[in-house]
């Protein structure tokens, strides 16, 4: 979507300014035969033209284009800070366009805490180069040495006081060229925007009822659509009473294509009523039964799996060791966005335009084109914010629903579709259930001398970006159905199910195996952190079990096995902040625990200490307080980083204490907030965060850094409080009561 910081164009809605330019790297094509292009870092690698990122206007303002999008994580503000810093322009003079298949660079999917690392480096280098080009032009114009010029707020000044503005130079600045990658960004010591707690650009609109979300779009002539979902996965539509529904007030059309069934009406409540009537009249042939929930982990372990050793270290195993084994499990977990997914689509002159809160407008365009049987250049996807998604929820699916209805809408009327609550829970792709088997050996000296870690999981991405099929839900139900892409696992070092399966601890001997299960009993995809949440839970729980067996303090035991100074620093910092007492013990109902991880084993370092209280009578576990320390390299926006840490910990506490998708043989049973409770305001832990700034390190993403350490800290705190170890999530009252006897 567009964020116009000055708000002067905000009133125009989400359509935004149209600037004619081409993304085609003309120079690149011309020189491609002659030489291989030099590699460029981050998102520049696939978006090499400077004016695809930044353009300067006659009034001296800049348009900044980003392929990364705002999901509520503050990415657009942070990216704008980076661009403004390098351009020496105030934030208010940037016009931001993000996530538009016809206007912005293709940065793939906004996921994996990569917006700052990939999009940020691109804007930093592009911004620095644009500034250099303008300064060089100014030097010529002023007849001055470029090194003597200073820049402030888009005005370039010579030592003698003469000035020229970016606006004066805009016409002569040739930005339609490749990014050199050689421009020198400003040293961090001179930063005035980066590293500052700049207020988020999107929050004023959100707290005053401004147009902020795709849900708020109202296009001229827009109708409302709803889709009738089958009773369970794979059910086939037999008959409907179309005539009766068509006769209902406001109904514009009933749309059926195979087992895809929807309705369009003048008003939203009419579309909902009509969809309820349609659902009542529809006869379905049942789909295949789901497995029993009680046996789901055994089923997963029994399915064929591709085993791959992802880390192995060989060393002689002493024969006087003690060997420990444990198995950890994590259930299917819902994204559970507060707002059900929504999209608006318009089919006009053979071209489909879709406003979407997808995390990846370019991959979505590909799957939409496939589903609609249109060439990709006849599909235009424009990002507009939705409710927070926390990974691959139904955002992409509803875009196809809206497009299918818009294609059938009389007169090319735009159609807005929002899923109902029960469909959002019932049809979103869940975070996969996982099993982790661990086995380790402890030397008499209290050191871990052998570590075995086996992860069993489905894929953690069935996004539209996967090749070889269509991953949009409704495409599977069309009369001419399109099969989904075959599941793949995301390779190391980032990993999918095996994300964070390789420990950061220094073990002389280790073996980590990823068992990738292709068959998916339930629909699954990317949930924030992918496998890291479960793997850090297992790693850090087991490590605490070993610390206990070694009669060692959990903090000291970690430090004793860690060389990485940045890892040690976050653990030491959180221990200080929480006033951790070496050897501190729980009292039967209250205790504290620590968890640590370097996200993806290659990015942000986070350590969390949590305090839990256990009501032994009811089995209810609460987390009154948590502390965290984070090192995400150079901090772009300290308040934004703190916000991500606080949010990650609270969300992880919710997953850990409460969340589990319910299902039986007939289908998904968690269909509303009573069937899928999440943490409430009275239950949320108080969180204190220590930020460790490393201005000379590269900036890293933080949206997923805290969830793994938080679950581990909570599980370890439960064990410290009660002396009992829970290895199955969530830490529900039933499990707690069973464990405590």
């Amino acid at each position: 979507m567009n964020v116009v910081v000055s708000r002067r164009e905000f009133a125009a809605g989400l359509g935004g300014i149209v600037v004619a330019f081409t993304l085609a790297p003309r120079l690149l094509v011309e020189t491609a035969l002659a030489q291989q292009p030099a590699p460029l870092p981050g998102s520049l690698a696939n978006n090499r033209m400077l004016d695809a990122w930044i353009r300067i206007h006659a009034d001296g303002d800049a348009t900044v284009c980003m392929g990364k999008v705002e999901l509520g994580q503050g990415a657009v503000t942070a990216l704008a800070q980076i661009a403004a810093e390098e351009l020496d322009l105030p934030l208010a003079r940037l016009h931001l366009i993000s996530g538009d298949t016809e206007k912005t660079p293709n940065e793939g999917v906004t996921s994996g805490s990569q917006s700052i690392e990939y999009g940020g480096v691109a804007l930093r280098l592009a911004g620095a180069q644009v500034r250099e080009i303008l300064v060089d032009l100014a030097a010529k114009r002023l007849g001055a040495d470029a090194t003597t010029l200073t820049v402030a707020d888009g005005v370039i000044s010579a030592p003698d006081g003469r000035k020229v503005s970016y606006g004066d130079l805009a016409r002569d600045a040739d930005l339609h060229r490749e990014v050199s990658g050689k421009a020198r960004p400003k040293p961090s010591s001179t930063h005035t925007i980066v590293g500052k707690p700049i207020e988020r650009l999107d929050i004023p609109g959100k707290v005053t009822g401004g147009v902020a979300y795709v849900q708020d779009l109202r296009l001229p002539g827009m109708a409302h659509g709803r889709v009738v979902r089958p009773p369970q996965y794979g059910a086939k539509l037999q008959t409907i009473d179309e005539a009766a529904v068509k006769a209902m007030p406001g109904v514009v059309a009933v749309v059926r294509d195979g087992s895809f069934l929807g309705v369009i009406a003048e008003r939203e409540e009419q579309a909902i009523k009509a969809s309820v009537a349609l659902a009542k009249s529809a006869k379905w042939a049942a789909g295949p039964p789901l497995p029993d929930q009680a046996g789901i982990y055994d089923l997963l372990l029994s399915l064929p799996a591709e085993a791959k050793v992802i880390s192995e270290k060989q060393a002689a195993l002493p024969d006087d060791v003690r060997v420990f084994e444990a198995t950890y499990r994590r259930p299917y977990t819902a994204h559970a966005s507060i707002g059900p997914s929504c999209a608006v689509a318009e089919f006009k002159d053979g071209k489909m335009t879709v406003w979407t809160h997808s995390q990846g407008v370019f991959p979505l365009r590909g799957n939409l084109a496939m589903g609609l049987k249109l060439p990709a250049d006849k599909v235009h996807c424009i990002h507009a914010e939705g409710s927070g998604c926390y990974g691959h929820n139904a955002a992409d699916d509803v875009a196809l629903d809206a497009a299918l209805l818009a294609r059938a809408a009389p007169g090319g009327r735009p159609v807005r579709v929002q899923w109902m609550r029960g469909d959002e829970f019932g049809w979103e792709p869940f975070g996969p259930a996982m099993v982790i088997k661990t086995k380790a050996a402890l030397s008499p000296q209290g050191r871990v001398v052998d570590w075995n870690f086996d992860v069993f999981s489905n894929t953690h991405s069935t996004r539209p970006s996967e090749p070889g099929g269509n991953n949009l839900l409704s495409s599977w139900y069309l009369a001419d159905p399109q099969p989904p892409a075959p599941p793949r696992t995301i390779p190391q070092p980032a990993g999918g199910g095996d994300r964070n399966a390789i420990p950061l601890y220094d073990f002389p001997r280790q073996r980590v195996v990823n068992h990738f299960i292709k068959e998916m009993p339930l629909r699954v995809s990317a949930l924030r952190t992918l496998g890291a949440y479960a793997n850090v839970f297992a790693t850090e729980s087991f490590f605490d079990e070993l610390a206990l067996a070694a009669n060692a303090d959990p903090v000291a035991f970690r430090l004793a096995h860690l060389k990485d100074p940045r890892a040690r620093a976050v653990i030491e910092a959180v221990a200080r902040k929480a006033d951790w007492k070496p050897g501190e013990k729980g009292d039967g109902s209250r205790g504290r625990g620590i968890g640590f991880a370097k996200y993806k084993t290659l990015a942000t370092y986070v350590a969390v200490i949590a305090e839990v209280e256990v009501d032994r009578a009811t089995g209810k576990v609460s987390v009154p307080r948590a502390w965290a320390a984070v090192d995400s390299g150079q901090i772009i926006n300290p308040d934004g980083l703190a916000n991500q840490m606080e949010g990650g910990i609270v969300q992880s506490a919710s997953w850990t204490l409460k969340e589990e998708v319910r299902f039986d043989r007939d289908g998904i049973k968690s269909r509303d907030w009573l069937g899928y409770p999440i943490l409430t305001m009275p239950e949320a832990p108080k969180v204190e965060v220590v930020l460790i700034d490393r201005p000379d390190e590269k900036p890293l993403g933080s949206g997923e850094g805290a969830q793994g350490p938080a679950v581990a800290a909570i599980a370890n705190a439960f064990a410290a409080a009660t002396g009992k170890r829970l290895r199955d999530l969530p830490l529900s009252p039933d499990r707690v009561k069973a464990a405590l006897g």
């Binding site: 509520g72 609550r421 907030w673």
Partner: protein
């Protein structure tokens, strides 16, 4: 069929059936964005507005039942240029991530502060117990409501 109602101090008439949920009238007929569809089941609080000062779930409140009552939405509190103390505090505390729940949170907070101008932290948590937030912004929301209560106490 037309229904009349009073929203943010103005008399409005909308072409809706009386059994239409107030939420759709606010959003679609009156172009008021703040109240959100979250569940349609009165479970999440994203659609919260005030009717005669009391918080109601507009997703299950029939517009025909509102009658002469005063409906207040977040838009009725203030604007970006003239924010209500709650809006100012939510901006200062950066008390939003995706922000989808925030309008409902703020209207529940408004209702709380109207009856309890100086709530304790526990009062704020309890007052917002039926409003769900998924991003984990709870701490900031609590801080913002407490800050607003202090600011309002000074004026």
């Amino acid at each position: 069929m037309a229904v009349s109602l009073k929203v943010n101090g103005a008399a409005r008439s909308v072409p809706a059936e009386p059994d239409t949920p107030l939420l759709y009238v606010l959003r679609n007929d009156l172009a008021l964005n703040a109240a959100k569809f979250g569940c349609g089941l009165a479970q999440c609080g994203a659609c919260t507005v005030l009717v005669d000062g009391k918080p109601v779930r507009s997703c299950i409140t029939e517009v025909g039942s509102v009658g002469e009552s005063e409906v207040t939405t977040l838009e009725g509190l203030g604007t970006v240029d003239k924010p209500h103390p709650l809006q100012k505090a939510f901006i200062e505390e950066q008390a939003a991530q995706c922000g989808y729940c925030i309008a409902g949170m703020m209207m529940s907070a408004k209702a709380l502060l109207d009856v309890n101008p100086h709530p304790s932290e526990a009062d704020v948590r309890q007052g917002l117990a039926d409003n769900l937030c998924r991003c984990g912004t709870h701490n900031r929301i609590i801080r913002a409501v407490l800050k607003a209560s202090h600011a309002m106490g000074r004026t």
